[in-house]
């Protein structure tokens, strides 16, 4: 079954696309998920993945050429397929020639994951969705894309209750959504919210999580940081979180089993250490990646993290900034959280949840009770990849680095 690749919408403000260059030639083999083209948007040039595996039969829009969004740009199929026939069928289905694609509102297709639900597309894209007339009216009024809704009526028909949990009839059967006297505010999903929901639900539902917690005596590290930072200029100062990334990256280098990813047919163990850093944003979160964190100095990590956080908060992260992480760090220490568990950021195999450093009563080696500055961390592991002992060994190394930082520098 051949696939017609369309010009994807790669940013919310993108109005047309321009092919910077094809990474493959006609006749080349392509694989789903592997970049096949560089597309220039109004903001940047991005690599874009092939929507299907097969042979790149025909390039319709060549290097340097422009075309409207959703216009066909290439045909991918089996080597023996006639691209002309595929294209004719595609045009018939679209109800017009390729040239008319310009007047068509963008249609959601599986091959365009980056597509944003443009409000003006709503009413048009409802056409081939099964929905009751009322559901279509509600969707049009509220700007809901019916394609994103799972219908609960006969044959998957989308009906009123699928769109408004607070309708009178739904309220009688779902008390949890009974309208409170204070009212209910309906916040439409942003693409970021949908992505978070999809990826994290997928993670929890497919990766068997287990959790390992440990606490570190932070006295030496904090003292060292205090004296080191005091000598550094403002643009080189680093935080405890930067140290977490720095030390975790070095521990990962020693425990590559934790720096891995579950695949259907194998476990991929990465030679590079790219650490995804969870950054809270007003409307969600992003995980920009500090690349080669094991090779950076703590000052470089601090600078890179600051840069990424800044562009994340400006909403200007490019896919390249948040793709390709091999391990994640999520730090809620600054908010006073003592310890917590995090959901693994797929396809990674582990994430480190970092809590606050707090004065904590401990039993000292001489049997008396004392107070230490301690920080708790919890490692969430994908048990398909990491067994308990493997995760524990990683944390043991990490503890050694935190409590005796010199070992990380000289023995790591």
């Amino acid at each position: 079954m051949a696939t017609v690749m369309e010009m994807p919408k790669l940013s919310d403000t993108m109005a047309e696309g321009s092919v910077a260059r094809w990474l493959k030639k006609e006749g080349d083999k392509v694989s789903a998920g592997i970049p096949v083209i560089e597309i220039e948007t109004d903001k940047a040039t991005m690599e874009y993945e092939s929507p299907a595996s097969g042979v790149l039969l025909k390039i319709l829009v060549g290097d340097g050429q422009k075309c409207p969004l959703q216009a066909p740009i290439a045909i991918i199929g089996k080597a023996d397929e006639k691209w002309e026939e595929v294209f004719e069928k595609y045009k018939a289905k679209k109800g017009g020639s390729a040239a008319s694609a310009k007047s068509e509102a963008p249609k959601a297709t599986a091959s365009a994951p980056a597509k944003a639900a443009a409000p003006q597309a709503t009413s048009v894209s409802q056409v081939d969705v099964k929905a009751s007339p009322l559901a279509k009216k509600i969707a049009a009024d509220k700007g809901i894309d019916l394609k994103s809704i799972q219908g609960s009526g006969p044959n998957g028909r989308i009906v009123q209750r699928d769109l408004s949990q607070t309708s009178s009839s739904a309220a009688t059967t779902s008390p949890a959504f009974a309208v409170a006297s204070g009212g209910v505010v309906k916040i439409p999903h942003t693409n970021m919210r949908k992505t978070i929901a999809r990826r994290l639900a997928e993670s929890v539902n497919t990766a068997p999580h287990f959790f390992l917690s440990i606490s570190f005596n932070m006295a030496d590290l904090l003292n060292w940081r205090k004296s080191a930072v005091a000598k550094l200029p403002e643009d080189q100062k680093f935080s405890v979180n930067d140290l977490v990334i720095f030390l975790a990256a070095r521990a990962l280098k020693r425990h590559p089993a934790v720096n891995s990813s579950w695949q259907d047919d194998c476990v991929l163990q990465y030679g590079d250490v790219h650490i995804s850093v969870a950054v809270a944003l007003p409307n969600g979160l992003m995980t920009p990646v500090v690349r080669h964190a094991d090779k950076l100095t703590v000052v470089q990590i601090a600078q890179e993290t600051k840069r990424l956080v800044k562009i994340a908060k400006e909403g200007k992260l490019q896919p390249n900034d948040y793709a390709g992480g091999t391990f994640s760090v999520s730090n809620l220490g600054m908010t006073g959280i003592e310890d917590f568990t995090a959901i693994i950021n797929p396809p990674q195999a582990a994430i480190l949840a970092v809590g606050s450093t707090l004065p904590t009563p401990v039993v000292l080696s001489n049997g008396s009770v004392g107070v230490e500055q301690r920080m708790k961390v919890t490692l969430s592991c994908d048990h398909r990849v990491i067994d308990g002992a493997v995760g524990a060994e990683f944390l043991k190394t990490l503890k050694q680095y935190f409590e005796d930082p010199a070992t990380a520098l000289f023995l790591g």
Binding site: S132, P133, L134, A135, K136, K137, S152, G153, P154, V159, Q160, R161, S168, S169, T172, T173
Partner: protein, 325 residues
Amino acid sequence: MAILTLREALNQAMSEEMERDPSVFLMGEEVAEYDGAYKVSKGMLAKFGPMRVVDSPISEAGFAGLGVGAAMCGLRPIIEMMTWNFAIQAFDQIINHAAKMLYMSGGQYKVPMVIRGPHGAAHMLSAQHSQCVDHMLVNCPGLKIISTIDPADAKGLMKSAIRDDNTVLFLESEMHYGRSGEVPDGEHIVPIGVGIVKREGTDVTLVAWNKMVLLAQDVAVELEKEGISVEIIDPRTLMPLDEEIIFNSVRKTNRLVVLEEGWGVASFGCHIVDRVVKECFDDLDAPPERVTNLFVPMPYNERLEHEVMPTAERTISAIKAVLYK
């Protein structure tokens, strides 16, 4: 306000109109000496005399025709059909003459006549005597059609029907002549063509008339226990139909079920669904459902008769279907 049975309410309406207007008279089989087959005209012969309460021969086509002629000549006849099953004999007079006279005479002859009697199934009267005729008659332009069993509505609508200058068909129900309700005294008028919300609800609109209103009310009480709020609309008049009261309800509930006695093929319920789909299309969350007689001649057997007529069970299923439950 008095508590009257349906037969007493109809009797009161006819008597009050005969007192008010000397051109009104009652004619039909056994309406005079016998006080009416179902005692609707009880005491009227004694009160108004044989010139105004007239026993007719057993010939529906004949006395319906007499009614048409009398009405053309300026009287206001009330023709009682012992049942509407027998009135099928008189359909030529009703459809070809009463309904069309004003039109065919270029407006020269009005036919201000009421034809009334019980219709629909009663109890074990078998195929020929259990017929619901409303959909047959509503298809004929030139007739007004009222269908009700509510004593107060029956009184108010009967008075409107007698005063109307067109032929008005009045459909009652044999099983409910003895059913009583509060009826306003004296000049109580219910206008033709105005429906009523019998029960307010939020989840589904259930349109029912005549004796089906009672079934609708039972079903609504039953479903309330499950948290389903049923709004019952009784149009009371089928022609002209109060469409707005139905549209307004559907726009609120987004769902429609029509519960009608009578067979479902090309029935009056079809017409209601058609109008709602046209006027309230964007308000509908589910295809409307209809509950009707099963499409077979009415059986004599009591249990089969019950099954063929609309049941609470089928009505509840239809309501749940439009609620996707």
